[in-house]
């Protein structure tokens, strides 16, 4: 049994960590946090040059053709560095949707552009409150154009194209939903920036008014493709969350060693030690669940739906838990803008919602476990 990443994959992780430590310091993240740039363009360019954007994209489409385990270790480092770039929208959502359902022409058009850093992509699914569900898709598709409003759309304001879920039929069934590709720089699209919990990753409202769209995947298959995309993104996001959780735990640990109160290191008080020990426990559970998700993702195993939901829940909980208690360990200083703790708190809570909230994934997990037991 080798339920672990290979030495080469671990080396890639080290390489990514070294690169991000240099190019994505908290200071660099703050440029975006403070609203001085919509995302870190230099970093995005660097990620393309390192081959990280196209690591799981086949060589014939301009990628490195490595695989999803390689993408997982890079994702972990992106989360650890709190990178202010549209990585998850472009690589986990848009690229995965293209890989699953794109025509050869669509892949040829967008995948090389993603790998080279020239195109930013995203998924436009949500329409206000609510979790992923066919009935929540109201935006319509007819005669090759889309009409309706999507919000929030992650990185919507900087994206060049979007995969859009639209209602193309009126049977009232899941088969009404189809996916479309929309060039956001073409006409019929209005984009409005939304304020959001985590300013290091933008959220937008996109209004489609007779926007030209081409189908992505077979008509009526939209929901099934979307479910696969969300599962795959859930595993990849879980690695970002695991990276973020680990970093928040380390920050808390380091501060507990450094800070003296009542004449001793605060990390010598059991109330603090036990809080940090519990953070380690949730981060470890999340990492192990995510490894299982990575295995299922990389082998396209039948277990992927269940593994993805478990990784999603576990990693979401761990990142929220570690980010929250990292602030608590820091005390008052943790609540200042100056300290970096809040950046992880913001990211953790934004990520908890991005692919659908915990309530949604809990429901999915139980459904999938039942299905497996019934089989």
């Amino acid at each position: 049994m080798n339920f672990d990443f290979s030495d080469d994959q671990k080396q890639l992780r080290d390489q990514a960590r070294k690169f991000l430590t240099e190019k994505c310091s908290p200071k660099a993240v703050r440029v975006v946090l403070d609203g001085k740039a919509p995302y870190d363009k230099e970093l995005w360019k660097g990620l393309a040059e390192m081959g990280f954007l196209g690591v799981a994209i086949p060589e014939e489409f301009g990628g490195a053709g490595a695989g999803h385990l390689e993408l997982c270790v890079i994702a972990e480092e992106m989360g650890r560095a709190n990178a202010p770039v549209p990585f998850s929208s472009t690589v986990y959502l848009a690229a995965e949707a293209l890989l699953i359902a794109g025509s050869d022409a669509q892949k040829k058009k967008w995948l090389p552009a993603i790998a080279s850093g020239e195109a930013i992509g995203t998924l436009a699914l949500f329409e206000g409150k609510g979790n992923p569900a066919p009935k929540n898709v109201k935006l319509t598709a007819a005669n090759g154009v889309l009409n309706g409003v999507k919000k929030p759309v992650a990185d919507g304001a900087i994206a060049d194209f979007a995969v859009v879920a639209a209602r193309a039929g009126s049977s009232g069934r899941e088969a009404d939903i189809s996916l479309f590709l929309v060039d956001l720089k073409a006409g019929g699209v209005e984009v409005k920036n939304l304020t959001n919990l985590d300013p290091t990753r933008g959220q937008a409202e996109i209004t489609f008014k007779d926007a030209k769209a081409e189908p992505l995947g077979a008509a009526g298959e939209g929901w099934s493709i979307l479910t696969q995309v969300l599962d795959r993104a859930a595993v990849l996001c879980a690695f970002e969350q695991v990276g973020g959780a680990d970093r928040a735990l380390e920050m808390g640990r380091d501060y507990a060693l450094d800070r003296i109160a009542f004449g001793r290191q605060i990390g010598s008080f059991q109330a603090v030690k036990h809080m940090l020990a519990d953070m380690y426990v949730s981060a470890t559970l999340a990492r192990s669940n995510s490894y299982y998700g990575a295995w299922a993702l990389s082998t396209n195993a039948a277990e992927l739906p269940e593994a993805a939901a478990a990784a999603r829940i576990s990693a979401t909980q761990a990142f929220q838990h570690c980010a929250k208690n990292n602030i608590q360990v820091h005390g008052g200083m943790g609540f200042t803008w100056e300290f970096d703790c809040h950046m992880y708190y913001r990211r953790a809570n934004a990520m908890a919602l991005g692919l659908g909230s915990l309530t949604y994934w809990e429901d999915q997990l139980i459904d999938r476990m039942r299905k497996k037991n019934a089989a």
């Binding site: 080798n2 290979s6 640990r253 507990a256 060693l257 001793r264 426990v281 559970l285």
Partner: protein
């Protein structure tokens, strides 16, 4: 990344599986599979006899204490082979429960500190289950603070005379031997005045009394020592070095890798899958599903954490510290799971035993659960261990560390 055996592992697994299939006491398989927490009871047989017979059969064929050297009754197997054996032994591994202390703690301590002739005499019958061992560390005045123990050992010629009391000794009532931590010098700080021995539990002056637990069962004992004589050659380690010797024992207690920990989750999921609530199937209920999902990811998280450790063993490496979370997570989880299962039963959840739902399975779980959070290191000690050894946080401030043991305040409890 894969879950596959290496060719050597696959071959070992096939050999183990074939032997188990041909030799295991299959008539008890169903009962053993159903025992989920703490107590394994067979309806129509004495579990001790069944366990001893199975252990002896394994030993005769070279399947006992796999990781021990052959000359001491083991197989000289690698750590990963030991894990594969446990996986294959499955429910029959329940029969090893009464040997866990002896095989997991006493044996390794003997191997590290006993004289060669003692190892050759005592270890093979320990491996084969013919002799059962217990561990005599905890005392009324020293649980988490083991080094606060008071049982005295005083030198008398070539012997030591033991007086005092131990508590929470698993299996003392059927044990043949034990390892015993004593205080040989009360005038030095507590960790420095301890010495370890092994002794014959049938020695004159040893008295074993069962403890009636909060659950109503009796799995543990108090052991009283009144002028018990132990020859000096049964000393393990130097005089005054007992603390270091005991660390060897305790490290082995916490290093059991690959052993399945009970969380109660599979039982609860199965129960909820068929349970009808007032307004429909439990498994369709939003609140039930949310609870189940949260426990499901803890259970799977533990399972895959264990897989990661096993993978390290398979590569011939030492597993990382992540395995230290198992007991902490599972202990409180099984208590919460049991509480919730009863909640789902409504008022009838109060009925236990044969009259209760599922023959009182979750009620029994609930009553046994507090013990799981205390035995083998309380939740609080486990958190200290993670904080100090994994995260590198400072040790607790110990006000009695440099004080001679007999000057430590006791509030009159001596």
């Amino acid at each position: 990344m894969n879950f596959d055996d290496t060719p050597q592992e696959a071959e070992f697994r096939a050999t183990a599986r074939a032997w188990i299939s041909a030799n295991a006491p299959k008539q008890y398989e169903e009962e053993l599979r159903k025992s989920s927490l703490g107590r394994t009871v067979l309806k129509n047989a004495d579990i001790l006899q069944v366990a001893k017979a199975w252990q002896k059969k394994k030993a005769d064929a070279g399947w006992a204490c796999l990781h021990w050297p052959k000359e001491y009754g083991g197989r000289g197997a690698s750590p990963i082979e030991r894990v594969i054996w446990q996986q294959e032994e499955g429910p029959f591994g329940q029969l090893s429960r009464m040997f866990i202390i002896g095989h997991g703690m006493c044996g390794p301590t003997m191997m590290a500190f006993a004289r060669e002739e003692h190892k050759r005499t005592y270890l093979p019958p320990l491996a084969s289950g013919e002799k059962v061992w217990c561990q005599l560390f905890s005392e009324p005045a020293g649980g988490s603070d083991v080094a606060g123990l008071r049982t005295r050992a005083e030198k008398d010629g070539d012997d030591w005379i033991i007086n005092g009391q131990k508590i929470w000794t698993s299996g003392a009532h059927y044990s043949d031997y034990g390892i015993l931590l004593t205080r040989t010098d009360p005038t030095v700080p507590k960790h420095k005045g301890l010495t370890m021995f092994f002794l014959d539990m049938k020695s004159p002056g040893v008295e074993v009394r069962p403890i009636k637990q909060a659950s109503g069962a009796s799995d543990f004992n108090e052991v009283y020592f009144t002028n018990v004589r132990i020859p000096d050659h049964q000393r393990l380690g130097e005089v005054g070095d007992g603390w270091n010797v005991s660390l060897t024992t305790l490290m082995n207690e916490r290093s059991a890798i690959g052993a399945a920990v009970s969380t109660g989750f599979p039982e609860l999921f199965e129960y909820c899958s068929s349970l009808m609530l007032d307004d429909g199937p439990a498994i369709e209920d939003r609140a039930v599903r949310s609870k189940l999902a949260n426990w499901a990811v803890k259970a799977s998280g533990l399972k895959y954490t264990s897989m990661r450790a096993i993978s390290a063993l398979s590569r011939g490496e030492r597993p990382g510290p992540e395995n230290s979370i198992g007991k902490l997570v599972a202990g409180s989880m099984i208590q919460d799971v049991a509480t919730y299962a009863l909640d789902l039963q409504g008022a009838s959840g109060v009925v236990s035993g044969e009259d209760g739902e599922l023959a009182g399975r979750f009620q029994a779980m609930l009553l046994r659960a507090p013990g799981t959070r205390v035995e083998g290191g309380t939740d609080e000690i486990m958190r200290n261990i993670i904080a100090e050894r994994v995260l590198g946080l400072p040790g607790d401030i110990r006000v009695d560390k440099d004080v001679p043991f007999n000057k430590i305040p006791t509030k009159g409890r001596n």
